[in-house]
Every structure is written in C-alpha cells, then in structure tokens.
C-alpha cells in the first residue's frame, strides 16, 4: 500500500472544515486506515487561476516547494481538490524538463530546497533514477487503492433511495495530457463510489459541464459564473436529485454560493468524502454542514428515514 500526505489546499480548511473532517475520518483509523499523515509546511498549491495565469515562473516555484516536502518524506501527495491536482500535477510535468528544473532549483536554493524527484533503487553500477513526485486525487485513491469492494464492505448505512447528481469538475477530466486516471469522456469513479455507498447516481444533461467558477471567472464576473451554475442546477433538479456530490471543493463552493441567488430552493452540495462518511455511519453533526449555505437538513432527515 502506498504512503500518502494529506494536501487539503486552501478552500477546505478555511471554508469547509467538514470536508477535512470527513476525509480524515474516512482515511483514518475508523475508516480505511491508510498510511497517511499531515505535513505542517504545505502552503497553497498555488491556485492555477491566479498564479499559473499571472506568472508561470512563480507558480512553478511555489508548487515545487510543496513537491519537495513530499519528496523528502518519500510519500505521494493526496489532494482533495481538482485545482490542487491540476496545479501540482502540471508542476511535476514542467519539472521533468531539465531546463525548467534547473531554473527552478537555482531559486529554490535560496530557501535550501532542491527538487529532484524521488530516487528509485537502481541496479548496481547504474545511474540513479528519479521518479517524479506522485500527485493523486482522493477519488482515484478511493476507487483504485482502497477499492470499491472495501467501500461496500464499510457501508454500514446504505444510502437507499438517495438520488445523487455527480459533478466531476473540469480539472478532474481535462486536459487529458495529464488527467489519465479516469475516462475524460465517460468518467465513472465518483459514480462508482456513490453506488458503493448504496445511493443511486442519476444521469442528467451536460453532466461534464463546468460549474462556472474556474480560471478566475468566479472572482472576475460572478454573474457569468452563476449563470453557468444555474444551467447545471436546472438540469440536476430536472433529474430529481436529492443532492450534488463533487470531488472538488471549489466546485462545491460555487454550487453552494451561487444557489443563494437563485429563486428556487437549493439542492444541498457535498464532497464525496462527506457522502462516504454518512454511509459509513458517522454522526452528521461532525460533517460541518452548518458552514454550507444550502441547508442539508431535509436531506439528512431523508437518509435517516424520518
């Protein structure tokens, strides 16, 4: 079994602590008991819509700093966010180019760090081989490393009669040059996890569309971002879903906040880890749903069968 480091990013710890709790609980002793720990020195990934868009050199340096920490610990980074995944994974690819690795390391030297990748055992007399630091998405680790059978086994309270609308989010799927762990045109992993929790994943129109928030659109022209979200929510409501489940806290934030401005009642939004924790029998009070804008009360009542 691989060893991991938690990488929560910015949105989860500062806006949705319930997701952090759910992830820790699901991966921890009471859940799947992964070999996973904190790293107190991780910073922002940094967020691609800001830093990758304004200065790639700075973006790469800040990302490399995080990668070096995982390299020193010889562990994989487990991200819980599509943005962190895209940013860090892209950085490992940039750093495969010796020129950009050299340029980055010259500046990283000022803080006493050097990115090489993780050294692998080489045959006697051969040159040392370095593998890039592995960056994994929570969903991928759940579906592949933990496995759907294990998830089914741990499901104490199957979420029967719960209809879930799964939202993948763009950077989970694209660009396909790096996001290869799930099928970008027909992704299945979150749906499989949802089904393993006993819930039903409903089909809806334009399922793979953007939530509207990414790339700085939410920060720049919020009405535009919200209009994209509104279309998605209309399709989700038509499909009769009880909740929206996503693997990305930024999509979660967008769905959760945008729905405030709509005339219709909101559909509760949660991270896939929160749904898993519910199926595994956690007390919902630990999942921090009161920090969500759209109330999850009626949804929680439904799954308890009241």
């Amino acid at each position: 079994m691989s060893k991991y480091l938690y990488f929560f990013g910015c949105v989860i710890p500062n806006r949705y602590p319930g997701v952090e709790f759910a992830v820790r609980w699901v991966t921890g002793k009471e859940g799947f008991d992964l070999d996973i720990k904190n790293h107190p020195e991780f910073s922002c990934c940094p967020v691609p819509g800001i830093f990758y868009s304004s200065d790639k050199d700075t973006w790469l340096l800040l990302a490399a700093r995080n990668l070096v920490l995982a390299q020193e610990d010889r562990r994989q980074i487990l991200t819980v966010c599509n943005g962190c995944l895209a940013s860090l994974m892209k950085a490992t690819e940039y750093l495969q180019d010796p020129k950009s690795m050299g340029k980055t390391n010259r500046i990283l030297a000022q803080i006493g760090k050097k990115y090489t990748g993780i050294p692998q055992k080489a045959a006697e007399g051969r040159r040392k081989i370095f593998d890039p630091v592995k960056v994994r998405h929570y969903v991928e680790v759940m579906a592949k490393d933990v496995g759907l059978d294990a998830i089914k086994e741990k499901t104490k309270h199957p979420l029967k009669n719960v209809k879930v609308a799964v939202h993948y989010g763009c950077h989970y799927l694209r660009p396909t040059e790096h996001a290869t762990f799930d099928d970008p045109n027909d992704p299945v992993m979150i749906d499989q996890i949802v089904e393993a929790c006993g819930a039903t994943s409903v089909e809806y129109e334009d399922k793979l569309d953007c939530c509207g928030a990414g790339g700085g659109v939410r920060s720049h022209v919020i009405e535009l971002a919200n209009s994209l979200t509104q279309d998605k929510c209309t399709n989700i409501a038509t499909a009769g879903a009880d909740c929206i489940v996503t693997g990305c806290p930024f999509c979660l934030l967008q769905f959760d906040n945008a729905q405030k401005s709509f005339a219709t009642d909101g559909i509760p939004v949660m991270h896939v880890s929160q749904l898993q924790a519910l199926a595994m029998g956690i007390d919902p009070i630990s999942l921090g749903f009161d920090t969500h804008n759209v109330s999850a009360h009626s949804f929680l009542r439904k799954i308890r069968g009241h």
Partner: protein, 192 residues
C-alpha cells in the same frame, strides 16, 4: 449587420465593428511570438474551424468567441485581445476539440501574462497573492471557521503556528526572487 456577421465578429469590441478599417499602426507583428514566449503554442496554426467556440461554455453565453480572439492574435491585434475580461474558465474543452492541437486555453493564459505585464491587473489577483504572502494560503483564514474547526476537533489553521512562520518566510523569498511582488504591485506586503 446580419446575424452571421455578428457571430463572426463577436468577442471584438464594437469600435472594431464601427471603424471597420484597421490601420497598420494597430498591428503588433510580434504578438504571436510574445504568446509563444509565455507558453502558448503558435497561433498561426489555427485553422479557424470554430470547434473551440462551439464547445466553450462561455462563448455560448456572452460576446466572447474563442475563435475570434485567436484570429486577433494572428493579426497581431493586441489591443483588442487584452481588453477582453478574464472569462476563460480554463475548462480545457477547446483543447480537447482542437484539430490543430493549439490548446486555446493556454493561449488565453499567455494573454493574461501579457496583459499583466501591460499593467492590466484584476484586483482579485492582488488579493489572492497578498493572502499567500501573509498566510501561506490564497484564501483568507476566517475566525468563524476556526471556531467550527475547534468544535469538530480539528487543529487551528496552520498559519498561526510558530513553525509556520518559516513557511511564510520561504514564500516571501520566492515571490521576491522572481520579482512577482513588483509585477503585480504587492511589494509593500512582501518581507524578503
């Protein structure tokens, strides 16, 4: 103007529609080269097929057509492209559907780089960068959330731990080393 023409010209400023004549002084012959410098591919390879626009969630909604922006890049109409707002959601649909393998989303990223160097800096860039150099995170910590964290039995946000000061210092050094602080005008916040 007919509907078809409007669609074709969509994304460009009205002045372009009204002026009709673009004189050479407005053209920047090095523009394609500048885009390459900031990581975009060669815009001259664009076939103008319009696939990018057809799959773009933003192009479907507002007067921002990916294909037209690429066309302007080919002409060297810098002035028109830098004025477009930061509305690309970087969903990379255009990249998946581009037969010329141009990756229009990366061209948009390169355009943002150029705009920033011309002094067109959206305020949220400064806000996020300031948060990063102050707290090590681009989202500002919230005391109310810290209260919830305590209730859930989670640790306080790391930025207040004494050992985290080192991290913030390192970030400040890196941001200063690339002159990023000066580029976006947050040099007063950076302590390097």
């Amino acid at each position: 103007m007919g509907e078809a023409e409007k669609t074709f010209i969509g994304g460009l400023h009205e002045e372009l529609v009204e002026d009709k004549v673009i004189d050479e002084a407005q053209l920047d012959p090095d523009f394609a080269e500048q885009i390459r410098k900031y990581g975009g591919k060669d815009v001259m390879t664009c076939l103008q097929c319009g696939n990018c626009t057809g799959v773009c969630p933003i192009s479907l909604r507002i007067d921002y057509k990916t294909r037209n922006i690429i066309k302007c890049c080919q002409f060297g109409l810098k002035k028109y492209t830098l004025g477009t707002q930061w509305v690309c959601a970087t969903c990379y649909r255009c990249y998946e559907h581009c037969p010329a393998d141009l990756n229009p989303a990366e061209v948009m990223i390169a355009l943002r780089h150029i705009a920033i160097r011309e002094g067109i800096i959206p305020p949220f860039i400064k806000t996020a960068a300031t948060n990063l150099v102050k707290y090590g995170q681009s989202v500002k910590p919230d005391p109310e959330i810290d209260r919830v964290r305590k209730e859930l039995g989670l640790e306080k946000i790391g930025t207040e731990h004494p050992e985290y000061h080192k991290v913030i210092r390192e970030i400040n050094v890196l941001v200063h080393a690339t002159k990023y602080d000066k580029l976006i005008g947050i040099q007063d916040e950076v302590k390097a």
